[in-house]
Symmetry: C2
Subunit: 147 residues, 2 copies
């Protein structure tokens, strides 16, 4: 490939899996976090809380896998939520283990944030279009399964 050819460069930009996914993630995250502005949590924290709710008692490493997040990244994200009493991080029988669970307070935060999530979600789906979004979501699930 010849980078001095502008057509080649544009093709790379418009097809790059990393760039296009990151850009879309940035744009959607911005939308969500603006809607979440007056909430007690970010959209990212909302996802972590929801996963902790669904997989109560799961190990840190397992939760990281579910979230497609590096273990150490999740560790730091959870520390913030633990400090704010939204999750508990308990030692398992195996003393290396960290068992993650959402707290009552975390559930309460989730519940009162849910309407904001619904609004942000509807906003984005409305702009993208239901049909287009369905196809997109299928692809995102495939990525999560395969990578």
């Amino acid at each position: 490939m010849d980078l001095s050819d502008k057509k080649t460069r544009r093709e790379i930009g418009s097809s790059c899996a990393c760039f296009n996914l990151r850009r879309a993630a940035r744009l959607v995250t911005q939308r969500f976090d603006r809607v979440f502005r007056d909430a007690d949590i970010t959209a990212n924290q909302f996802s972590i809380l929801m996963a902790s709710y669904n997989q109560g008692g799961i190990l840190l490493t397992g939760l990281a896998r579910t979230l497609g997040m590096e273990r150490t990244t999740l560790s730091r994200n959870l520390s913030l939520l633990e400090r704010r009493k939204m999750v508990s991080i308990a030692m398992g029988g195996d003393r290396r283990e960290r068992r993650i669970a959402i707290t009552k307070n975390g559930i309460a935060v989730l519940e009162r944030t849910l309407p904001l999530w619904q609004k942000a979600q509807n906003d984005v789906l409305g702009l993208v279009g239901q049909k287009e979004w369905k196809a997109l979501l299928r692809g995102l699930h495939k990525v999560a399964r395969e990578l």
Copy 2:
């Protein structure tokens, strides 16, 4: 919606635009950056350099819009690349303006990183599947257009 219902919670997780996009972006970025490990730049910097090449002389704000990146985010990303002589940040006739351009050195870095990009891109497309990827990419472009 009732969060005490597990089915509801799982539905939220598997449909959330923000979570699913961010997770896919994380996974793909991890792949790319592992392939880029011995390169002089990250996958994100690769994208910024490529856009700076394509839009040579563009203003910071305009480039940020192209990249779907907050202006201040791009400002800091560009500072790193300027310090390493990969882009130039020049004042325009309007002294508020910052005109961004890739340098000769930046082009050289791009050229020798291109094979790594090609490998990472092929890896991801192979795992996701060409057909699935095409549909996904269309959706990502729609997101970038509409948000």
